[in-house]
Amino acid sequence: MSKIVSLYQPTDFIVHLADDALILGHRNSEWTGHGPILEQDIALSNISLDLIGQARNFYQYAAKLYSVSGKPVVTEDILAYHRDAWDFKNCLLVEQSNGDWAKTILRQFLVSQYQFLLYESLLQSKDATISAISEKALKEVSYHLRWSSEWVIRLGDGTEESHKRMLNAVSELWMFAPELFTKTNYEKEAEANGIGTDISSFKPKWLQKVNDIFREATLSSVVLDSEEWHTLSGKEGRHTEHLGYLLAEMQFMQRAYPGCEW
């Protein structure tokens, strides 16, 4: 019997990981120069830098896998700047508009907590590059998680105004949380090949960690019911209207002057 050689390439899965990091990184970078105080402006800009760096690592790897007989067909820049909204595989949570500081903080916290569990699990990936990128990213995400957790507590357990804004952020963003744990076909495939991971398996741990922080922040505990998840799937390219506006700004230079450098 001849040995069956797997031709499976986890490109969609890798592009999804890159898109999540890039879109959140870009959203955070919109605060650069507009942060409430200088130190926090710098903090969020640094977090953006980490996320965009992680995205680059994943895009570079995806571009390598896309190459045909060793010849590159796309570059990391083409993947980031020349795809349209329906090609992007980021979850809906990361593309939501910044809103106020509370909404930006909560979005970062929910995603960081997810990325922490995701990258920790991807250390075991059979794909050595994904495992290496995850190892690097995990150290950075731990930092983002601490920073955003502290801010959720500070705002939730802060003044009447900051508490109200945190509640508002929860009501605006919570509906996008179940998507994080809803598997797409490419996530199922990656998992079956030992390259990805069972993303639904860390849902209980994620929820518990979120509720731990919410309790300290004097916010009511939350539940996560995937059955109620009947909306769009960003991970499958069906996005909210926010992504188009984001891409219009982020991609403008490369669309107007393809390949430009400075």
Binding site: E39, I47, L49, G53, A132, K136
Partner: protein
């Protein structure tokens, strides 16, 4: 001196553009040098995924080695094992302190995910007092945090452990 030693010696003269007092050897980002006939492969690892200095560092490595006649070069980025401040040389830590940046602590308490953890005493690089406080977990570059000394009141950068 072997070719590898010679290359490492040259790389010791390439500085981090953001913390110019440190060479890339001090910083611990040169992981290995492999020689194959007249070709050299330099393995480097980024400090942070999005460190903007990496591109400049790669160009500076190529330029410095080319000036010494090494033209057949390959620069390979290695991500695993991930860079840690443990790889910074002792000489590098002394240089940092003399430059006014508190070097990373050998015990990496602050990396742990416990919240509001400020128990670690960072020594002020200017007056040597341990009576200091953290102003912000993030500083002027991804690798630094902002502190202030309660005694001499000077703000200073801390090269945070990672």
């Amino acid at each position: 001196m072997s070719v590898k030693e010679e290359i490492l010696e040259i790389l010791n003269g390439v500085n981090d553009p953001e913390v110019p007092v440190l060479s890339i050897i001090d910083l611990g980002i040169v992981r290995d040098v492999k020689i194959n006939n007249d070709a050299a492969e330099i393995m480097i690892t980024p400090t942070y995924s999005g460190c903007p200095a990496m591109e400049v560092i790669k160009k500076n490595i190529q330029r410095s080695l080319a000036e010494h006649g090494y033209k057949n070069l390959k620069l390979t980025t290695v991500l695993s094992p991930a860079w840690t401040t443990d790889w910074m040389t002792e000489k590098g830590k002394e240089k940092l302190k003399a430059f006014g940046i508190a070097p990373p602590m050998p015990k990496q308490h602050i990396c742990k995910p416990e919240l509001f953890h400020e128990g670690e005493a960072i020594q002020c690089p200017l007056c040597n007092s341990y009576n200091t406080k953290m102003i912000s977990r993030f500083g002027s570059t991804p690798c630094k945090a902002l502190y202030q000394c309660n005694d001499c009141l000077e703000p200073f950068d801390y090269f945070k452990c990672h």
